[in-house]
């Protein structure tokens, strides 16, 4: 199948891009195109106007200031994966990105594009949840606003942003140095959409968990934080039983059934992967301290 006809626009500034988006009825921004162009080819998406952001300056870049990581929306996944300062400060980004698509799609795919596509199995969305991300969006009509990641998904694969709004930057809160991390997912082939996955961060003081953050993905409508498990773990000595009990809280969440796997299977898988991610995070935390 080939894409339906559309008009192509290549703005050279953010202001021009936002102005274009404000003036069209049925337009989409084109970021890396690794999901959108496939959807256009399959005619899952049919647009009248496509606004290519690839030549808009100032939308890509990575900076770390204390505990705040800022990433421009058009930052390519390959750049994020290969960023040395980020890899040493917070290794879970490179670990998670290893599962994002393939070499060829990471060369083009962007952070902002992945967030807006909002696939239930998107590792980058899960990492955004894990790090209490704040998404900056801009439009010609209403200027700039910020959306906490918890409020970002509106429905299945639908972010809570207006058609004329564009994600420009994402801010992540990095865990303290000395934290431990774990990232596990299961897909039928490496790089495929995960049937289920879990990411965890753990900070410990004097043998007890000071703070745990857990995000799961692939199983339900969108990646989510597992606050029930985080609350259970706070202040606990991370014994096998404690991790098992915390991981069991994911049983109470909603899982979807599709051609790839049943909801019951995803629930079971998510529990196992959550326990493994937590165990890795605790082990790594002990290793560095």
């Amino acid at each position: 199948v080939k894409a339906a006809a559309f008009d192509y626009h290549r703005p050279e500034s953010l202001a021009e891009a936002l102005q274009l988006a404000g003036s069209f009825e049925n337009a989409k921004f084109l970021a890396g195109g690794q999901s959108l162009v496939a959807m256009l080819n399959m005619r899952y998406a049919i647009v009248d106007d496509l606004i290519d952001l690839n030549r808009v300056p100032g939308l890509a870049g990575i900076s770390i200031d204390g505990t705040t990581l800022r990433v421009g929306a058009m930052t390519r996944q390959k750049v994020l994966k290969a960023h040395d300062a980020l890899a040493s400060r917070s290794p879970i980004f490179a670990a998670g990105l290893d599962y994002v698509g393939h070499l060829q799609t990471r060369n083009r795919g962007t952070l902002g594009g992945s967030l807006c596509h909002l696939d239930p199995a998107a590792e980058l969305v899960s990492l955004a949840f894990l790090h209490d991300a704040v998404v900056t969006v801009a439009s010609d009509a209403n200027g700039v606003r910020e959306i906490p990641i918890a409020d970002f998904p509106l429905a299945y694969m639908t972010p809570s942003i207006a058609p004329d709004e564009m994600v420009t930057e994402v801010r992540f809160a990095l865990p303290a140095p000395g934290h431990g991390w774990g990232f596990h997912e299961f897909a039928q082939r490496h790089g495929d959409f995960a049937l289920a996955g879990a990411a965890a961060l753990v900070e410990m003081t004097e043998g007890r968990i000071a703070r745990a953050a857990i995000s799961i993905f692939g199983g339900g409508m969108s990646p989510v934080r597992v606050t029930g498990a985080e609350d259970l773990l706070a202040g606990q000595v991370p014994s096998d039983d404690a991790l098992r009990a915390a991981a069991a809280t994911v049983d109470g969440l909603d899982y979807s059934t599709d051609a790839m796997a049943s909801g019951a299977y995803r629930r079971r898988l998510t529990g196992v992967l959550t326990r493994r991610a937590l165990a890795d995070a605790v082990r790594r935390c002990r290793e560095v301290s």
């Binding site: 080939k2 339906a4 006809a5 496509l50 690839n54 070499l103 082939r189």
Partner: protein
């Protein structure tokens, strides 16, 4: 659009909805780039854009304006001498039907250039973006590892 394809300067008119793969095949006649799934899964259509392996079905031809594209036809020298990777593919029987081969050659060209120190496990992982239904990947992996060894030896020798 104006772009460089396999060292040749091209100026052409192209409809916005035409992806780079169709442009290369239908407008330039470069049918070495194979289109399998056209939604980014199979990897057969991979080409190099400014040196990076990308799926030509997931990039619009208009986006290649001003870029340098190398297809499988551009990997060998002008006189037809195969690249070391192509030579290794022949030696190791790394293809049977050949449908996936252009995508594998272009992907491995980037991968081995950037990471000549790659080990077998990592290599197999990175090849997850290219489907081969004939070979079971054994020959492909041996060919790539041989080129990686030769590249490292050359690097150490010079």
């Amino acid at each position: 659009v104006r772009l460089v394809v396999n060292g040749r300067e091209i100026a052409a008119e192209v409809e916005p909805r035409i992806h780079l793969g169709d442009f290369l095949r239908h407008q330039l006649g470069l049918t070495g780039t194979h289109l399998g799934c056209e939604h980014g899964v199979c990897g057969a259509c991979t080409v190099l854009v400014d040196g990076d392996a990308v799926r030509s079905c997931l990039m619009l031809a208009v986006q290649a304006d001003g870029r340098e594209v190398v297809t499988v036809e551009g990997l060998a020298a002008a006189d037809g001498t195969l690249s070391p990777l192509q030579e290794a593919f022949r030696d190791h029987h790394a293809l049977q039907c050949g449908f996936c081969t252009p995508g594998l050659l272009t992907t491995l060209t980037q991968l081995l250039r950037d990471r000549p120190d790659i080990g077998e496990a990592e290599l197999r992982r990175e090849l997850s973006g290219n489907l081969c239904r004939c070979t079971g990947y054994s020959g492909i992996v041996s060919a790539a590892l041989q080129v990686a060894r030769e590249t490292r030896a050359q690097g150490a020798g010079s």
